[in-house]
Subunit: 151 residues, 6 copies
C-alpha cells in the first residue's frame, strides 16, 4: 500500500501577549519586547495540519478531508478563534503563548479529538505535523517530538 501525507489548512484570529510567570517584569520586558504589551496584541494564525497514512484502495483517501476539517473545527477553531489565548485558554495560564507552545497545544488537542472521533474510520491515519504561521514572516513546525513522553 501507498503512504501519503495530506494537509488541511485553517485560520483563526486571536489576541495574546508573551509573558512568563517564571520571569520578573524586567526580564519579561527584556526578552519579549513589544510582544510583552500588557494590553495584548493579536494575529491571524494560519494552521496546517498534516496527517500521514496509507491510501485506502477503495476510497483513494488517507482520511476523509471532511472528517479532518471537522476535527480542526473542534480542536482548533472552537477553542482559539476570536479568543484571548492567555485568558480564554486554560493551557496558557501556566506556559507562555509563544507560537512554539501553541503548536504543542494544537498537536495535543488534534490528537485528543482524532483518537476519540475518528477511531475505526482509518487504521493507518496519524497526525504527522502541526505548522503555524504567526505572521507571514514567522512560523513553527511541530512533529510531536517530546523527550518527556514515554512513547
Amino acid at each position: 500500500m501507498v503512504t501519503s501525507y495530506i494537509t488541511r489548512t485553517a485560520s483563526f484570529s486571536a489576541a495574546h501577549r508573551l509573558h512568563s510567570t517564571h520571569l520578573t517584569e524586567e526580564e519579561n520586558a527584556a526578552i519579549y519586547g513589544k510582544c510583552n504589551n500588557p494590553h495584548f496584541h493579536g494575529h491571524n494564525y494560519k494552521v496546517e495540519i498534516t496527517v500521514k497514512g496509507k491510501i485506502d484502495p477503495i476510497t483513494g483517501m488517507v482520511m476523509n478531508m471532511v472528517d479532518l476539517k471537522a476535527c480542526i473545527e473542534l480542536a482548533v477553531m472552537d477553542p482559539l478563534d476570536h479568543r484571548n489565548l492567555d485568558i480564554d485558554v486554560e493551557f496558557f495560564k501556566s506556559v507562555p503563548s509563544t507560537v512554539e507552545n501553541l503548536a504543542v497545544f494544537i498537536w495535543n488537542n488534534i490528537n485528543h479529538h482524532f483518537q476519540k472521533d475518528h477511531a475505526g474510520k482509518s487504521n493507518t491515519a496519524k497526525l504527522y505535523k502541526v505548522k503555524i504561521y504567526e505572521t507571514e514572516h514567522n512560523s513553527v513546525e511541530y512533529f510531536g517530538e517530546d523527550d518527556d513522553v514515554i512513547n
Copy 2:
C-alpha cells in the same frame, strides 16, 4: 506630465474587539457576535497606502518610496503595531475599531504626517487610497470621501 499611483505595503499585529458605546450589551452581542468577546481577539492587519502624483522628470518618481516608508512607520506602525486598538489608541475610545474606522484613522494620520514631513518634497503627491486587509477574506478601501468635511 505623467500621473502615476504608487503603493507601499506594511503589516502590523494588534488586538481589538468590536463594541459600540452607543449600544446596549445585548445589542453589541447581537451585532458583533464573537468579535464582541470582552477579552479581545486580534489580527495581522495588512495596509496598502496609495499616493497619486506626477512623475518627476528628473528623478522618475512620484515620491521617494523611502519617504513613504518612513511616513508609514510614523503614522501606522508606531501607533498600531503590537497594540490594543481599543485601549492604546485614543481615536477608538469613542468609535468602534471596525476595519472601516481603522482606515479612516490611518487616512487622517498619514495625511497629518504627510503634510508635516513631506512639505516641499513634492508639489503633486497626494494620499489617494488606504486599503486594509483585516483577514485574507475581509478588506476595506477608503478614498477620503467624507460628506462632513468641507474640502
Copy 3:
C-alpha cells in the same frame, strides 16, 4: 458621513467548458482552443464582492460582514460550488461560461439576494464591484455597467 468600500472574498470549485451556441464546432475550437474540450475542465474560482456605502456612526460598519458572507453563500456558493457551470446553472445554457459572463451572473445574483434579504438593514450599502480570478493569471472585474439596462 464617510463613504467606504468593503470587500469579502470566497472561493468555489466548478467545471465548465467554453462553447458558444452561436458558433460552429470549427469556430468554437478555433476561438476557445483547449478550453473547448467537450469533457470539460475546471477551476478554483476566487470571488471578491465589493460593497460601497456610508459608515454607520453607531456600528462603525458599511454593512455587517456576517450579512455579506451569508449573501455570498446564497448567491455564489450554493448555485456554483462543486457544480458544472454549463449543465447545472440555467444562465449558462444560453451564454458561454466565460469569466466575463460569470461576473455578470454573480452581479445579478448578489443584487437579487441583496435587495431581498438586506432591505432595511442599510440605507446606503450597494453592490459596487464583482471581481473573479479564474486562475492566478486571469481575472475579470464588473461594475454593473450595462448599456442595455435602463437605469
Copy 4:
C-alpha cells in the same frame, strides 16, 4: 559533494468527480458528498516537483531547471491540463481521482519521463517529492513510499 533539493512549480486546470467503482451509489454519495456530483466540478491544481541530488561542481546545479520544466510539461501539463481526469486519463478509470491518487499518477509519470529523457544528464538527481494543492486549503505530499513495490 553537496546534496540539495530543487523544486519547480506548475499549475493546471482540470475537471473531475470523486467516485469509486468499488462502492454503491449510496456509499459514493455518503463518502464523497458534493464532490460526487455526476456532472463534475474542477480545480486549478498547483503541483510542486522536488528533485534531490548532488550539486554539480562545474554547473552549480542539481539538474537544469529547463530540463525539469520540460519534463513537467510532458508528464503533468500535456496529460492533465484542461482535461477531465476521469474521462481523459486512463489511470483514473480504475481508481478514484482523489488528490492522493493524482500525486501517485504524477510521481509515476514524472519518473517515467525522468528515466527516459534525462538519462545520462545527471548521475545523482532523483525525484524526491510530489506535492499537489487541490485548493488553497487541501494538499497532499507523496514521497514514493509504496509497500507493494519491490524496491
Copy 5:
C-alpha cells in the same frame, strides 16, 4: 452591451539600478540610496495588464485571453525578461528605470502591439491599466494619464 475589465498577469526577472543623468553622483547616491549601486541589483517584476471593453455577445469575451497573452509576450516578456533594463532597453538610457517609468514603457509598448496586432479583432477593447509589483511591498499603477499627450 456590458462593459467588463479583464486582467492578465505575467512575471519577468530583470536587473537595473536607479540613476538619473540629470543629477550629480552625490545627488544620485542621496536620492536613490542602495538602489544606486553601480553594479546593479534586480527584481522579479509582476505585471498586471487590464483591458476594458464590451463583452461580445457571441463569444462572451472582451478580448481573447490567448491574444492578450501573446501581446504581453511581445510587449513585456521579449524586451524585459532576463534583461538589464538600463543597458538592454533603449527607453531607459534617457530616463531612470524607476517602477513608475517602467509602467509608462510597458503601457506604450502594449498599446503599440495592441493597435498593430489586434486591429479588427475587437472594436471596443482598450488598454485600461498597467500595474507593476517591483517587490511584494512596492507597486505602481498607470492609467495612461499624460498631460503632455494631445489625446
Copy 6:
C-alpha cells in the same frame, strides 16, 4: 523536552547571471540560456531560515525570533540585498551564482554568525534548513548535507 522547528522569512533583491569559469562561452550559453546574459538579470529572492531546537520551559521559545531576525540581517541582508551577487560577493567569483550555491553560501554565513553571536543564548538551537525561492516557480532547500565536510 519538546523539539520544535522555527522559521523566519526575509527577502532581498539582487542582480546576477549564470556563468561558470569551468566552461567555454558556447557551453555557458548552451547550459544557462537567457540566464547567461552578460549584462545580468535579477530577482527578489525570498529566504526561509529554519532552526531546530528544544523549547525552553521558561521562555517557551526555541530561540528568540528577534535574535534570529538580527542574525539574518547580518548573514543575508547585509551582504546580498541590492547587490550584484557575481561582482559584490567574493564567494561567487569561483562558483556560479545558482540558487543551489546561494543556499550553501547562506547556510555557511548563517552558521558563522550563529556560532559567533548566539553562543550561550541557547544550548540546543541549530540551523536546520535554508530554503530560497528564486522566483515563484523555482526554489531550493539545503540541509547542510555535504560529503566533503568531516562532521
